[in-house]
Symmetry: C3
Subunit: 363 residues, 3 copies
């Protein structure tokens, strides 16, 4: 048997940790929202239906940026369904997770949830670039962030949200490289729509931070070429490129599973290389940061059972569909971790591990 | 004079005839709908305005699949205009046929018509991919087919249609290769939008059968290249590629006209070859079936007179514009036959004739 | 010192002057509309709020075609916001000029303004191809021009405009080559959407005259290649290609500024050459005309001060932002001149000067 040892000493400081490393993700998926963070009638629920027991745990975790509302869910998301009096919100089919979305929890409730976590929690809102485009992105941005005095901002005020939501961090769609994505796009198509959406959103607010979709995993057949094409179209217009990764024991191979960090590190290295290559071609001094905004370990059998029901004409509300058996940074059974963060293109680039530091700030 | 003879004997069975071979087509064009199948006030009209005399003839013909609502009409079609209380439906300009569409006959009336034909009649619904896209296709599909419990399905119920329409067969647009089509597309553009619409519609219902638009006729300059490009994008996502053909005596040449089946046969052969070529390149075991969903013989003078009025600012309701002087499988003066069917890529591929078997099931 | 002399003599007739040479431009920009031509409460305002003093000056100028509503403004323009009872019109953020648009002046008021100028004034309406497409263009065209008897034309009548607006001249978007344009497009993307919008608008009315967007200035990096690509897609479908040019003294160099006509002339020559090149490749006998529909001289310091505020979260109504210190064909401080006109591809092509004849009719 081989023996390995390593030493951790607080004297060896690599760098400051970006607070966004402790970001998380709330998707309208399974029981993440409904009976997860939001459950009117639960003994600990406050007047808005937020579970205090969950909020306490979230606060304890020190969660920072919380990505919302998806994930694949966002490619069918119509923001206007999710605002206004809850009783008049429409019930919709959610194609991503084959369920019925009641919209009882929506944009306002999400912001309320963040405010109750505490001041370090910040919104990270994904927009629908699957079945929508520039016009609707601008409408959401104006509804959410403009103070008052226009039809859309006054609508938000009339919905009881006098204060604008101040959403600064936006995801330009979700996993647009995935054929499972409603409105899936080629890299060229996505690069163009992301570029024009970014331009328009910056016209409304030059201070936004924008995340372009990278690959859904390093194993995607389009990996690296996707990033190169998307960044060629968006380099000057976005701040981040996203990475997503999920790990599970394959064929009971625990050793490989425990070594998942090796894949994650190579993923980060390869995206950094691709982004810097594009920057070099464009003769740009700008560096693109990494937003590792979905990763986790998975326990698949329950999901596989649930996915089989997608063939059936059965659209339950908030079905149990996912169980993560390892520690997860968010309290819901279906939560996945999210961290818009950055990789170091220099020699000090530190090894990444899925449980803590995916990367450090790029300089 | 040459003499030819051929023998028909029921003992020589080539194969089973697909019932869809006896499909038909109802388009909002001229008098096909209004004063054709639908004419409130007509002596034989039932309480919904359907003409019983016409229904009797349609039943006698044994019509199966009925394609609707177009044709070119569909590229301006807004499904939501055609549902709900008839008196509140909007009047629209129909650019395809330069007329005014009252929407008195719509989606619900079409399904009622099918149900009254009999159990063998099935809907074949075309969606608007000229001026609309994925989002609206999904809305129509949910309104039509989802049982209940969502805003769109409950809207259908509130319109008096408790039972879902069960539309299984869908055309992904109509004649998108034709420059006359509102929202005409290149093969690449159409292939992409058809692919993503197909993916999304299958998310809502994996059981749908989907028809991609092939060429509007074999004489289109883009013929065959169109099919190859469209199928390259959609091969795994669609079930059928469409063929359209119309024949008329040119310069009074009756012999050529009577030999139109030669063109039709070569058309079928060439589309089969193209589809199989794409399958070969993709190393796919799947075969694409043929949907010969528009063909007929035409008598053109009346149409040409009508088409001249398109230059004028005159938008009549249900104008007389077409007269088919030969037998037609649907009773309306402007009807054209429709049969989603299949060709045989093997030696048993049978000769096609425009009056009966355009092709047989592909194995 | 060099001395130059030239002789003007009415005996030397080059050709007839196209009345559209005296066209102008009203954009929702700064104070062009609000407190420019429209100012309810002004001592000279009529019952619709139009300033009679301004109208008198406009009539004196003999203004013909008046382009509207932009300019960059049009890429966020929703025509339906600008019609109906003024008090119910929504307030919108205008991203182009970082201001709040009240929509108190809209489509009906624009037509009223034209009618009050006199019979020689004709509308030249730009449609939004930045954040909208074919469907909305058709809706605007039907609302504006269809007599009555459809939902959209009856809506116009219900808004008090029984007579259709008779808009014959349409701009297919505005400056779509400019990265500042909301919904900016590549030449290929724009050429395609312009082609299909043109086709569809001609289905509604074969008599429309259509202007495709050329370059925002001769100094654009895409100049000439843009025109070639756009015209390749639209040659048979449009009548005009646009040119835009603004001049100002650079580094106080008055001599160069006064020689701006040299740039304008080369701009015209180069666009004519490009258009004729495309025509030659297409073996077309048709000639594309020029629409020099934005040009002027600028005094920039005030604009530069205003543009700096775009970084701030400040969205004033009708802010002062532009001052043209030289003669301008429209009375507002922010007006720019507009003339859809034509160049001569023959030896009789006359030199252009920014103050009068940019070009003459192409034969």
């Amino acid at each position: 048997m081989h023996t390995a040892r390593f030493t951790l000493d607080p004297a060896f400081t690599v760098g400051e940790v970006n607070p966004r490393l402790f970001g998380s993700f709330v998707e309208h998926l399974g029981r993440c929202v409904y009976t997860g963070i939001f459950e009117p009638g639960h003994p600990t629920a406050d007047d808005k239906g937020l579970r205090q027991d969950v909020l306490d745990l979230v606060r304890e975790l020190g969660v920072t940026a919380v990505r919302y509302p998806g994930g694949n869910f966002v490619s069918g998301y119509k923001w206007e369904d999710s605002v206004g009096p809850a009783e008049s919100r429409p019930r919709r089919l959610d194609l991503a997770w084959h369920s019925t979305e009641t919209n009882r929890f929506g944009l306002s409730e999400y912001i309320d949830f963040l405010r109750k976590i505490g001041p370090q929690a910040e919104p990270m809102m994904a927009i629908n670039l699957g079945t929508r485009g520039v016009a609707e992105a601008l409408e959401l941005q104006e509804y959410a962030n403009h103070t008052e005095g226009t039809a859309l901002s006054d609508l938000r005020v009339s919905h009881g949200d006098k204060d604008p939501f101040g959403i600064r961090l936006w995801c330009l769609g979700n996993e647009m490289d995935g054929p499972w994505q409603t409105g899936h796009k080629t890299a060229e198509e996505y690069g163009r729509v992301a570029a024009e959406t970014a331009r328009a959103m910056r016209q409304l607010d030059p201070g936004v931070e924008l995340v372009a979709c990278g690959s859904s995993s390093q194993s995607m057949p389009t990996f690296a070429e996707w990033e190169a094409t998307v960044l060629k179209e968006t380099y000057d217009l976005v701040d981040y490129i996203s990475l997503h990764a999920y790990y599970w024991p394959e064929n009971g191979d625990l050793d490989s599973f425990l070594a998942s960090a090796v894949d994650m590190e190579s993923f980060i290295d390869n995206v950094v290389a691709t982004a810097d290559h594009v920057g070099a071609r464009l003769k740009s001094k700008k560096k693109i940061n990494l937003s590792f905004d979905e990763w986790n370990v998975w326990y698949l059998p329950e999901w596989e059972a649930r996915a089989k029901t997608f063939e059936q004409d059965d659209w339950p509300e908030a079905p149990a569909c996912w169980r993560t058996t390892t520690a997860s940074p968010t309290p819901s059974s279906s939560a996945r971790s999210s961290s818009p963060c950055s990789g170091t293109p220099t020699a000090s680039r530190s090894p990444a591990s899925p449980s803590s530091s995916t990367s450090s700030r790029r300089s």
